[in-house]
């Protein structure tokens, strides 16, 4: 039954599966049907596919109107076009009235935008939406988690922003692994030297770094913080208390995303030194997906080094 390959396809499959049982779900497309790999949905449910043209602000505001009438629209397109071009519509007309609109932002991170360059590399989206009250923010780690996450967010009332990729995402989860909205998931427990908090399609690198460190005698606990908001304060605090130091790993600017979310939990509940792997507040550039991550501070070796640095600061 799981006939998808890639996070966009996983989204479409989840939407199709949801729609078989509930006619409230709609797809609002600012000419993103092909980009979203969502043509099978439109073929199956032509009247549930709302095409608004290349007009993201319109897409989000139309979705607000649909949601105000009891429908549940998914606005799906490039993450930056949702969170930047249509930011105000998302904030004032969806989040403020707490309307039930779901946002799927593809090409997330610089890995997702890769060869397209900065115009299509989105590394501010999580910071932008996190700062808006009342919106749930989710960054799953692979296609299977996207599939389950889409189903999970469909079943809560209120706006959600979910990150998807561009097709190059590595599979790191079992197909059937559940997606527990709002809860971190511990992926590796080698030990408690340092905590690794990661999310999104860089998870394979965090896993690899954890393994390398283990071979070198540094034992980390790796947790997937797929729900950035509401953040799992209890789960993160528990790991921080055990490890006493942490490194965050995300394909996002180090401002506004996972690093800040974890740092807030830490300062509020369990002060600890924290290293931040991510885009170091610079504009990246075009390049092959893996190479851009390597080039802009998100290489496996960068994670390894950050763990060692933070370990040396541990009291």
């Amino acid at each position: 039954m799981l006939s998808y390959k890639g996070t966009r396809e996983a989204f479409t499959k989840a939407l199709i599966d949801l729609s078989a049982e509930d006619d409230r779900f709609l797809l609002v497309s600012p000419d993103s049907l092909k980009a979203m790999r969502a043509t099978p949905f439109a073929d199956l449910y032509p009247d549930r596919y709302i095409e608004v043209g290349i007009a993201e602000q319109n897409a989000v505001a139309v979705a607000a109107g649909l949601a105000s009438c009891g429908l549940v629209p998914f606005v799906a397109t490039y993450g930056g076009f949702i969170t930047m071009r249509a930011c105000e519509q998302l904030r004032t007309f969806v989040a403020y009235p707490h309307l039930n609109v779901k946002f799927i932002g593809i090409n997330s991170g610089i890995f997702g935008g890769e060869r397209e360059g900065v115009t299509h590399q989105f590394f501010e989206d999580l910071g932008i939406v996190r700062s808006i009250p009342g919106i749930t923010v989710v960054a799953p780690a692979d296609e299977h988690q996207v599939y389950h996450a889409v189903k999970a967010i469909a079943n809560i009332d209120g706006p959600v922003y979910l990150r998807a990729g561009n097709g190059r995402e590595h599979v790191v989860y079992d197909q059937d692994a559940p997606f527990d909205l709002g809860k971190i998931r511990v992926l590796k427990e080698y030990g408690t030297d340092v905590a690794l908090f990661a999310n999104g399609f860089i998870m394979n690198r965090a896993l690899e770094a954890a393994e390398i460190l283990n071979a070198q005698g540094i034992k980390v606990t790796l947790a997937d913080v797929h729900t950035l908001k509401p953040i799992d304060v209890e789960g993160i605090t528990k790991i921080l208390a055990k490890c006493g130091a942490a490194v965050t790993v995300e394909d996002h600017n180090i401002i506004g995303g996972l690093a800040d979310a974890v740092a807030k939990v830490s300062t509020d509940h369990c002060p600890a030194p924290i290293g931040r792997i991510g885009l170091q507040d610079v504009f990246p550039g075009s390049g092959p997906a893996e190479a851009v991550l390597d080039c802009y501070g998100m290489a496996v070796q960068d994670i390894v080094t950050a763990v060692k640095t933070v370990l040396s600061k541990k009291r």
């Binding site: 709609l26 009247d47 549930r48 709302i50 095409e51 608004v52 043209g53 007009a55 602000q57 319109n58 505001a61 139309v62 979705a63 607000a64 109107g65 649909l66 949601a67 105000s68 009438c69 009891g70 429908l71 629209p73 105000e88 519509q89 004032t92 007309f93 403020y96 009235p97 707490h98």
Partner: protein, 277 residues
Amino acid sequence: MLETNSVAKLQKIANQLRLDVVKMVHDAKDGHPGPALSAADIITTLYFRELNIDPSNPKWADRDRFILSKGHACPALYAALARKGYFSVEEFQGLRGLGCLLQGHPCMKKTPGVDMTSGSLGNGLSIGVGMAIAAKYRKKSYNTFVILGDGEIQEGIVWEAAMCAKRYQLNNLIVFVDHNGWQSGGQVKDISGLLPILPKWEAFGWHCQTIDGHDFTQIITAIDTAKKTPGPSVIIAKTIKGKGLPYMENDNSWHKRVPTDAELAVAVEALGGNANA
């Protein structure tokens, strides 16, 4: 043809709404009376003749929808909602105050009868398009009405929505442009290259009418015509900013200004309503 006494009735209600607006802004010591008065006759016609709504059931799924996209004119909307019975006229006192029912700009979560949050200009038409598509999808017969300001339609999203409404041939979407010729910073004709307005909508494939936005017979006839068109319909309503109070008319300082006690007294005299009831 419309009966003379129904026009007289609407005129009387419009006068009351205008007085409510002036009183509200006077008491709150803040707000936009001029833009509210230019839209007052359209709002009166919608709420007291046209809209199929139930004040005792504000969220009724089959109701007609109304979006005041030029949300800063909300004192006129609040007046209409209170006079329809959605909430007490005593709420007028709290306009723009802490913990108030009547926010500085319309808030659908706080004010009964407000179908959509508004105030950030340009967005109401897209939202109306969403409501109209929802009606088609659910096979419901309600109509969606939107009031846009003439300054407001300088926002690009308005034209994104115009294209979208055309694609879906939304014959259940009726839009008024409150064409009073003014915006915050001055006259529309001086600030933008927008004018003339009507050919723009024509070019987008909309059914277009131009009326006197203070003539109830014309407003009603235009709505009736709009309902019969096969696609989206816009009514360019020529209006006067501050209409109804000579000291306010076409004086753009009243875009946002608080009437003095003396000016309120003049309004009570001119509009012949009850400033307290």
